[in-house]
Structure formats: C-alpha cells, structure tokens
C-alpha cells in the first residue's frame, strides 16, 4: 500500500492530513499546560487564550499544598512496581513450565489459566471486594497488590517466547546437572530479556492507570494512588481550572517523559502484545 498511496495522494497531501491529526491530538495537551500556568482571573477571560501572559509556576506549589501529591506518586510507584515484578516472576515460572516441562493434564491446566482472560474484572470486582474486606485489607497495600500478583496473559506471552528458544541450549546445561530453576534463571531468562522488558512495560502501563479497584478499596487520602488522588482533586477543585490542570500536568508528565524517551520500545511493545493477544 505504502508507496502506492503516496503517489495517489502526494507527499504534501499526506503531510497536511497527518499535520491536522497531530494538531487535534496535541491540542488538549497544550491547553492543559497553558491553563495550568494561568491565574484564576485569566481563566475567566473571554474569549479564552491558549497561553498565559505570565507563567504562574506557583500553581504547582499550591497543588502540593492542597493535596499530598507526592504521596500519591509514591503509592502508585510502589503498587505498580510490586505488581509488575511479581507478575514477571510468577509468569516466567509458569510460562517456563508450560513451555518445557511435560506433566499430566498440562493442556487442561493451561486452559484453566487462559480462561481467566475472558472474565471481565467487573465480574469479580464485588466478591473480590467482599473477600478483601473479610481479610481486613481495606485501605491497605495488600488490597492494592495481592490479588494481582499473577496474570494469565503474561504467562501465555512468555510461554510463546520460551518456545522459540532452541532447547539444545538448555539440554547441555541439564546434562551438566543444572536444576530447572538454574536453567531458567541463568540460560533462558537472559535470552528472553526483550520479551521480559516488553511484558513488564505492558503490565506497568496497565497497572499505572488502574482506576476502579483502588477507588473501591481505598478510603484514606494517604492510601490513594495517582489516578484516585487526581480524581478527588479534580472533584474538589471546582472552578479552579488552573489548579485542576496543574494536577493533570503532574499526573501526566512522568509517564509522558518516559514515553518520549523510550517511544520505540513503547510502541513496538504495544504492537507485539496486541498482535499476540
């Protein structure tokens, strides 16, 4: 299609269309940053302007004074890191077993894993909440992490990758008497580094933005993750749109910076996990 469409449309036509798309995509971000740096009076100016006359950096300070934003960051980083690390480990172990070890009822067990993928989280949400409250975990880190320490998609994804690694590499080490765990950690996982990075990024991005579950199981402000903290801040800021947008900038900036630095890995990782799913 590529060069054909190019000839059909012309390079300049392509650039114009993509330019318009990009402008539409980026405009809300610009508006967010512009509003975040305005004074309250400037927000009420009609017609609205994109960029403030004078940049009000103290808006960010005021957000930090109003809500414990730093705490939200820390909570999100801790929860997301624990879940990502745990899922990579449990999935590497399980994925390796499915890829390499022969055991009875292997296919049946594999189906037990995969079947969890068709269950929407909304189906388990209520009983999971009831379970977690019976355990006394409401408003704790356990509630935010423990139910999500395994992920069938990651198991499947890593199994598929392990199957592409030649068995001979492992068999030599097995002959020398290395146990399965050692083979996995010293031979297979180093070879699987790109797949591990992809799945870790995929898990991280998904968990970073989790909304419904932390909304249900956290009560106190100090347990809120970034999405929940921002949500309540948005509710409370009312007509202080400049502060609302300053909060949004702070929630968006770290992940967007990460993306701009490693956008190839992000996009190729998404394409890879998407087409495997």
């Amino acid at each position: 299609m590529s060069y054909r469409l190019g000839r059909f449309l012309g390079a300049s036509g392509t650039y114009v269309l993509l330019g318009v798309m990009t402008l539409v995509t980026v405009f809300p971000f610009l508006w967010m940053v512009g509003t975040a740096l305005k004074t309250q009076q400037e927000i009420f100016v009609y017609p609205p302007t994109l960029w403030p006359v004078e940049l009000q950096w103290q808006n960010f300070v005021r957000v930090f004074e109003t809500v414990p934003f730093l705490r939200f960051y820390v909570n999100s980083v801790v929860v997301t890191t624990v879940i990502t690390a745990a899922q990579v480990v449990t999935s590497a172990l399980a994925g390796y077993a499915f890829a390499r070890i022969d055991f009875p009822f292997k296919n049946a067990v594999f189906v037990v894993f995969l079947a969890t993928l068709i269950v929407p989280e909304q189906v388990t949400m209520l009983p999971l909440f009831l379970l977690v409250s019976r355990l006394g975990w409401i408003d704790t880190f356990q509630a935010l992490t423990v139910p999500f320490l395994a992920n069938a998609f990651a198991v499947f994804f890593l199994r598929q990758f392990f199957l592409t690694i030649p068995r001979e590499l492992e068999e030599a080490a097995r002959m020398d008497g290395a146990g399965r765990l050692r083979v996995l950690f010293q031979i297979v996982l180093p070879l699987a580094r790109p797949a591990l990075a992809t799945i870790a990024l995929f898990i991280f991005l998904g968990e970073w933005d989790t909304y419904l579950w932390p909304l249900i199981v956290t009560n106190s402000e100090s347990m809120r993750t970034l999405p929940i903290g921002l949500r309540f801040f948005v509710e409370e800021s009312g007509s202080q749109l400049h502060l609302m947008m300053a909060g949004a900038v702070m929630a968006v900036a770290p992940i967007l910076l990460l993306f701009l630095m490693a956008q190839r890995q992000f996009i190729e990782g998404i394409a890879m996990t998407g087409s495997k799913g």
Binding site: M1, F44, P48, L93, A97, F98, D209, I270
Partner: protein, 321 residues
C-alpha cells in the same frame, strides 16, 4: 482472544480414562515424578493467585447473584432468579444497556475508519513518520483521569475552548456535558482521542506484515490504487481488523473510568450511565450485592456472546494468509 480449542494436543492431558492410566504409568517413572514436582512448584504461585482471586470470586459471585444480600440488611436469603428477572424488567438496566450500545455504535465505526486511515498515511516511506506516530500515540499513555480532566476544561460551557470556537463561527454555545443529547457523544470523542493511537499502531503492524509480492502482482495486473486497497490490503488485513473490532467492542462494554471522572453523576438524565456505571452504583452506593452480582453475570454473558458471534462471523469473513 486465544481459542482454547486450537491448542496442540500432547500425549497426556486429555483427561478421561486414558489420561488417568497414563498418569499412573507416568508417576511410576522417577524422572517423570521429578518433572511433576517441578511443574507444581513452577505453576504454584500463579495458580494459587488465579484460583484465589479469580476463580473463587467468580463462583462466590454466582452464588450471591441468587440471594437478596445487601449490606446492613437482613441475613441473605436464597431468592432464585429474582435478581435476574428484576434487572431484565427494570428501566434502569435497559437504559444502561442502551447507553452502552450507543457508546459502541458511536465509537467503533469512527475508530476503525480513522485508525486505518491514519495507519495508511503513516505506512508511507516519507520522512518524519516516526514523529507523527509518536504524537498520535501520546494520548494512549496519558492517564484516563488526566484525560477526562483536560476535556472537562475544554468542554466547560463558560470558559471552554469549544464554545469560543462555535462563537467564532457565529454558532450558538452548547452545554456539552450538561446536555442530555450531547453528553454521550462528547465522552465518545474523548474515548476516540484517547484510544486511536493504540489501534493505529496495531493496524500499522498489520500493514507492514503484508508482503510486497501481493502489491507487485496486483501492479502487474494493472490494478488501480483503489483496487489494490480493496482487493489486496483489506482482505490481507482482515485478521487485524477483526482483532481491533473485537477488542474495541469488548472494551467499550467495560467502559467506566472515563465516564466516572467526566460525569460523576452519570450525566444529565443519566444519559451516560453505562452498564458498569450502573453495576458500580448497585454494588458500592446502594449496596445491593445480590442484584449487582446478577448484573455482573449479565455483563459477562454479553461479552461472551459478542466474542462467540464475532468468532462465527470471522470464520466466514476473515482471510488468514
């Protein structure tokens, strides 16, 4: 999205009579026994988590859906299918379903056409395509809550940019998120903005997977650009299109967070109260656990039915290379 039926059949593991005798023979062998222990240890952690936090809750929820359990009320009683019949006869349920379907119908076709168009544009050998790809992908990595907050500001009836644009063209201002007939389309626009980049990247990967030989063959046959698109690109891309559509519909049926932040009360006249929103209200605001559990199984049934129907459809229409 992974069909269990397509898994390869190993010698063991089919269960049944043969499986059990094979299992006994298997366990007599010391090396096999060691393998079984290794497998149990490797699978154990993930399996325990999935059984405790996915399987057990599903079974429990199914049980709850046949009771009148509500928080703070009398002890739960078995009420048969009352919760299901109540929901199927309630206007609230049908409104939530209608709103969800509206969301899908407004979003999916636009999403697919736009994503494919942008992917086709990006798939050319021109300078700067990486930059455009990056820009269009930015909303995908943006937090849903932040995205919802940004667009709330854009939609603001008094100081928002949309109304000032309408004004500039001499058009009357709108109330956007406060207008029952505009609230849902306004949310759909945000969902489109947020999700387009993801589908573009999936389509782009699909386009790049189509071999050049097909285009060369078409060129030899004198196909016009439109014919090449219609008879080469579209058929060979159909597995990807199918994937994007299936995931798109399923995710749309699960939409919640964007709406919950943009319209915390479900929108004017509940016009944006979708299924999961209604589920959330039943479970965590009115604490009707029995009804909420029943609704979650209705939702589950809908998602399964869509997957099944689309698979049937795909068998006829999707071309695999």
């Amino acid at each position: 999205m992974i069909a269990g039926g397509r898994l390869p059949h190993a010698a063991l593991g089919d269960g049944g009579e043969k499986g059990w005798t094979a299992l006994v023979a298997f366990l007599r062998h010391p090396r096999r026994r060691r393998d079984l222990i290794a497998a149990a240890l490797f699978l154990g952690p993930a399996l325990i988590v999935l059984l405790t936090f996915v399987y057990f809750p599903i079974v429990w929820a199914f049980g709850i859906s046949f009771t009148d359990w509500q928080s703070g009320g009398a002890p739960a009683r078995f009420v048969g299918v009352d919760n299901y019949t109540f929901l199927l006869n309630s206007a609230d349920f049908w409104r939530a379903l209608r709103n969800t379907v509206t969301f899908v119908v407004l979003k999916l076709p636009l999403d697919m056409v736009l994503a494919l168009a942008v992917a086709l544009l990006l798939n050319q050998r021109l300078r700067g395509m990486g930059f455009f790809r990056m820009a269009i992908f930015m909303p995908v990595v943006t937090s849903v809550v932040a995205a919802a907050a940004i667009w709330r500001v854009l939609y603001n009836p008094s100081f928002g940019v949309f109304n000032s644009m309408l004004d500039a063209f001499g058009l009357p201002p709108q109330r956007w998120l406060r207008d029952p007939s505009l609230a849902m389309p306004a949310v759909v626009l945000v969902a489109l903005w947020k999700g387009l980049g993801y589908n573009v990247v999936i389509f782009l990967a699909g386009l790049q997977g189509i071999g050049r030989v097909y285009y060369e063959a078409a060129a030899i046959d004198g196909a016009t650009p439109w014919q090449r698109f219609r008879y080469v690109t579209l058929p060979l891309l159909s597995p990807v299109t199918y994937f994007v559509a299936l995931i798109g519909v399923i995710n749309s049926f699960k939409v919640f967070s964007l709406i919950h932040v943009m319209l915390p009360d479900g929108g004017p006249l509940d016009s944006a109260q979708v299924l999961v929103f209604y589920l959330y209200e039943l479970a965590f605001q009115s604490f009707r656990y029995g009804r909420a559990a029943a609704l979650s199984f209705i939702l589950f049934g809908i998602v399964l039915a869509i997957t099944f129907l689309q698979q049937r459809f795909a068998e006829k229409r999707v071309h695999y290379e």
